[in-house]
Amino acid sequence: MSSKSRSKRKPDQFDFVDKGANDSDSSESEESVYSGLEEEPDTSEEDQEQSSNQSDNDSSDNDDDEDITLDDKSGLELSTEQRKELSTASDDELNEINDQRYTGNVKSQNRKQRKQITVKTADRPDEYDYDSSDEEDIRNTVGNIPLEWYREYPHIGYDIEGNRLLKPEKGDQLDEFLSKMDNPNYWRTVTNKMTGQNVVLSKEDLGLIQNLQSSKHPDSMAENYQPWIDFFTHEKMIHPVTNHPQHKRSFIPSKWEKLKVGQMVHALKMGWMKPTKAKTEEEEEENFYMLWKEDEESEITRRYRAHLPAPKMPLPSHAESYNPPPEYLLTKEEEEKWQNMEPEERRMNFLPQKYSSLRLVPAYKRFINEHFERCLDLYLCPRKPKIRMNINPEDLIPKLPKPRDLQPFPTAQAIVYRGHSDIVRTISVDPTGQWLVSGSDDGSVRFWEVSTGRCMKSITMETGSLGNMCIRSVAWNPHPDVSLVAIAMGQTVILVNPGLGDKMVTNNTDNVLHSFSPTEEESTGKKVYADWSSIDTSDKRFENGFRLLLQHPKEVSQVTWHGRGDYFASVMPKGDSMSVLIHQLSRRRSQNPFNKSKGMVQCVLFHPVRPFLFVATQRYVRVYNLLKQELSKKLMTNCKWVSSMAVHSGGDNIIIGSYDCRLSWFDLDVSTKPYQTLRHHKRAVRAVNYHKKYPLFASASDDGTVIVCHGMVYNDLLKNPLIVPVKILKGHAISHDLGVLDCVFHPSQPWCSKAQCERRAVCCLLQNKNGFAQQLTDDRPTKLETLVSVGKTIYKCMSSRLSKAAHTLQANDTPASSVNNCWYRQEYGTCLSDNLGSVSHVTAVNNDVYPKNCLIQQATSTKCISDALSEVDKYGCEAKVVDAMKKLGDSPSSADDLKEAYCRASVTAYECVLSVVKYCGVTEGPRTIEGLTQFSVVRTACGAFLPVTTTASPVNIGPIGDLFPKSFFSSSTNNSQVTNVNAALNSGSCQPPRGAVVCVAGSVVLLCVLLL
């Protein structure tokens, strides 16, 4: 039971015992600080003594009267007088054991008297009034317990002798009521819970309670509002507050001060001390200070606050155990390896070892070393908090609009312009968007109708002295009133009037060119960079559209027009100092803008609106001002080899494609470095282009794709261009490592045209061969047989004029390289010769390249025949073979005629077949009619071409072997044209099919196909 707990409980019990209770408590607690240590021995001594006393007094009277105890006590006091003097504490402890309420400042001498009083307390309750509150209920020895525990009992505890302290008599409710009515002090009577006695509160007590309740000073006597004595008034007084006379020392100068001043004066004289400058007003004004300086943490406090604990040592692993599992032990090889390794390289810096018991484990030798190293680590390696960026990776991706919102842009292949027989290197669209011009390695320039894919015109270049027929570049004059196309081929630049579009424009252009007369300036002896020559109207080339020729000293790789259509530039990469020439059409003269070569020029471009010229060398793009004749800008492309360049129609942005797969966008206003670089292509970028109207640009690459990007340039100078790739156009085949070589946009529609590197003719032939074979395999199981049967058919159809046709074909193109090719061509030749009936026409056709190309490329379908016919028609053949054949088919006069009609019908496709069928009544059944076999042959020959819709025709094709009666062949061997068939048949490793017999008679070859 500590005194503290008791003092805590006091207010709860509402014990109005005494005013000095606090004092007594505090003193008691002071003592109890050291009472705990001494308590035990003291009490034990006490007990012993007590027990000894008791044992002494055993014989004496057992009646426990007060005197004996008193004696005991006094005797004890006497005997332990010295001890008492030394420490009152022990005495107090004793008292404490005896009585909870005993206080230290009560004198022991009074004790006897007190006890006597307390014994009589119950008898004389009024004594409480005058007695000091300290001694109020010292008799109860039950301790500090709730008195409710004694509710059941008549007593409330025990006195010091162990006698019961009886509860005071308590009246019933009636008594309560009566006292309430009668007793004037009833309202100030409270019950002491410790004793159960009723206490009548005094007037002071009541005042105290009231003061406490109203939060006033508890002492009612204390004065809250003392009168104020105003010593120092605001009024000025005449007399000082104190009227002392002034002290004498205030009149005498201070010696110490004099000494100090003297020292300072001396220091000033000696220069040790500098007089402080008089502060100027400005300085005073500028006396700023950091208002929030306190907020800045000093380095030291920051380090304390942001303390980084040292990293913990790793916990020992299994391998470090004295008895590791056997798999952790190293084998000998591993141990050797460990030994040979550098200490830094070792994965473990110890060797696991096994001990049978912990006692055998030796001291760890490296303990000091390791700890020293660790200390070094901790000391030498600064620890620093690593700030991890808490960034969502998706936030780093720029917000791009969806391609769907950026329409229109090209999405699908619409038209293929078929016709070239070699790679198409360059294309250009006319300013109205109706025509497309393409230049190819086969030496031809073709003009196409954009909307249908029709080749309107084809110009084949004559093989020059150099023999290089590749068209390197074509460019349509951008001016709508000029109808001219510049073509770069070899060392010449040719200006061609295509004669398409408005006739007025065409004629005007011709007139302007024709009316040119050389000025005097021209004749003066200036250096001539390019040789201009015009083509006379009498020249054969004039009809093809040739108007002007510009002979260059070196090979020309590019031509480009100025926006107004009068100037054009040509690039000769190997021309050194003359690599760029600017030609003026109206005056027919050429200029060399650059004296010195700045590198190999890749391409040049005119600025669309201002007099600037962009010149791209391998790594840089230089922008020249043509008026001031100076270099205005030099763009760093950051790529290895520039391939192509395009200028935005606004003129402030250019894109550059390079052979290292990059496409760079430059904003000329902003920087000479790329604003953005796109690396979407897998192979070299061959061409780039802007759309004139829509915010689109495209890049063509050797990987066979064209990537179309949305490139929005804003009028707002602060807004950067928005570049979003929107579409990859695929579909081009890659041949010879070349993919898409050029791409241009339609001037008004969001369409993109591409030049393809592809040998179209070959491709088409192969495709058709496959198609043909596929059709026939339905009848004949194996492919070889199919081919053979095809061959048979072909040979048969070739009949008499095969030889000539083969010859024709041989002259036609390069030697046939494959069986399929050969066959196909033979068949085609057959058709031709059969139809034309005159070899001379064929040869006439073959002499011209366009029909030749036409034949090759359009051998895809039956229309090739009519194509050929129409071409032949142009060259003077008057026979309208188709018409004739139709007539023949309409009214067959004899069996022979019918046969011939069949044969011919084989080439005029199904319309004729239908008529034949109609007239012969074949519809009734295939085998009912004479001449069925011939018809079947016809069917077979046209089988591939018959449209799906007509397959309702009931003709059944029998086994092919049945279809070739000998008579048919014998009747068709009557031709005696002299040719060399051998070459035609065998040059392409073409085996004569089974059943074919080749008869050689002198120099005359007759071919006869017989069936086995």
């Binding site: 006739k503 039956t862 016919l869």
Partner: protein, 428 residues
């Protein structure tokens, strides 16, 4: 009916406007997942029950709220957001017969344009000639006259009389008006209309057949007189491009009555909507309506893609356009509010180069595309065409449905294909 109780059923009421197939107006419970063929057999059974004379093998098509049933019924209802609890009213019509390939007329070059009239077919070709064929496929005439590929041909008067007249426009920027004497089978160029500065891409003749308009790549729309004699005609020597000149040497040059500008790109198609109103479609993504009497543009409809062709039906007063984005669009020129594209028909795989309404059926039209397929459409079936007509091996450049029983198509494979279409039962 289906005996299975577990399958969901829909109450359906059938009706038809074709009186020979009328059936009692009682609702039938049909399985929800029923298709067209089952419904067709059901109708056939009902018809057979009521009248033995009806042939049982008739194929029907079914219309719900003006749209053809092309998927199972429940899916169709789900797509349209119609409750399957209510009684569904289904109209049935006899299925359109399939067009049959009839003939193929071989040209010397690509067939760029064509038009049929009663017994003859007129076709223009890239070999600069115009040809006249009989509807049975016999060639009547090959007419050289233009010096560049012919882009458009139109019959001016082709019905019956001994003399027929027709017009042809060409890349050589001229329009020639021809007279064809049927009995002699000879042709004569009577007028050469000069004035365009680009290829003449379209011609449209008004109902009175005394005027026609032409659209050209030079962005101009010109109105010409089609009368035999007009003011301002001048005699002119027409240079003969080939030696097979059959026409007379004297032709009269005609100048345009009116020239209207407004389009920013070439005009691809033109049609007369009424006596004075002309609609043009252009490469500049617009349809424009012109008043020919006031010589002004009255309104404009903005599209999103290049218009390659357009056709106007007198039966339903609607326009169908063919675009470079594979779609066909149905327009109503009478509406002025925003939603003027009434329907979009998508099935082609390439540019749709030409389109033509049926002259007798207000629901049907045909379209030809660069994907070599000609399609027959019903306006009530926007998702799928009724029939695909394949046969061409190259781009189809022109289609025509001037003769009700013949569908014509001309293509870059030099063929003009004729399909027979038997539409007797569906006259409006």
């Amino acid at each position: 009916m289906m005996a299975d109780e577990n399958t969901p059923h829909v109450q359906a009421k059938f009706f038809t406007k074709q009186s020979q197939y009328s059936i009692p107006d009682t609702p039938y419970s049909v399985p929800a997942a029923v298709g067209t063929s089952e419904l067709s057999s059901l109708i056939n059974q009902i018809l057979k029950g009521s009248d033995d004379s009806v042939d049982a093998g008739i194929e029907f098509d079914f219309l719900l709220d003006g749209e053809f049933l092309r998927v199972p019924l429940d899916k169709h209802l789900e797509n349209r957001g119609v409750s399957s609890e209510d009684i569904v009213e289904i109209e049935f019509v006899e299925r359109q017969p399939a067009p049959k390939p009839e003939d193929s007329l071989l040209h010397d070059d690509w067939v760029s344009c064509l038009q049929g009239c009663k017994e003859c077919i007129l076709s223009g070709s890239y070999d600069n000639t115009v040809r006249i064929w009989t509807t049975t496929g016999a060639p009547l005439l090959t007419i050289p006259g233009h010096s560049a590929p012919v882009k458009c041909v139109k019959w001016l008067s082709g019905d019956g009389g001994p003399t027929c007249r027709f017009i042809s426009g060409s890349h050589d920027q001229t329009i020639l008006i021809w007279e064809w004497h049927r009995e002699e089978n000879s042709v004569e160029c009577v007028h050469a209309c000069r004035g365009h500065a680009g290829s003449v891409d379209c011609i449209a003749i008004n109902e009175e057949r005394d005027k026609f308009v032409s659209g050209s790549w030079d962005k101009m729309l010109k109105l010409w007189s089609a009368a035999a004699v007009a003011e301002g005609d001048q005699e002119e020597q027409l240079e003969a491009p080939t030696k097979k000149q059959k026409i007379s040497k004297k032709v009269q040059t005609r100048v345009p009555v009116l020239t209207l500008s407004g389009h920013t790109e070439g005009i691809s198609a033109a049609e007369w909507l009424s006596r004075s109103e002309v609609c043009t479609a252009s490469w500049d993504h617009t349809l424009r309506l012109w008043d020919m009497e006031k010589a002004t543009q009255t309104s404009q409809m903005q599209g999103t893609k290049v218009f390659l062709d357009m056709s106007y039906s007198l039966l339903n007063r609607q326009i169908v356009t063919a675009s470079a984005d594979r779609h066909l669009r149905l327009w109503d020129p009478r509406t002025t509010d925003g939603a003027i594209v009434k329907c979009t028909y998508t099935s082609h795989n390439g540019w749709v180069s030409s389109v033509s309404w049926s002259p007798v059926n207000q629901y049907l039209f045909i379209s030809g595309s660069y994907d070599t397929v000609m399609k027959l459409w019903d306006t009530r079936s926007p998702k799928a065409p009724l029939y695909n007509m394949s046969g061409h091996e190259e781009k189809i450049l022109a289609v025509d449905w001037s003769i009700p029983s013949l569908l014509l198509s001309g293509a870059a494979d030099n063929h003009l294909k004729v399909f027979q279409y038997n539409d007797e039962k569906h006259g409006t």
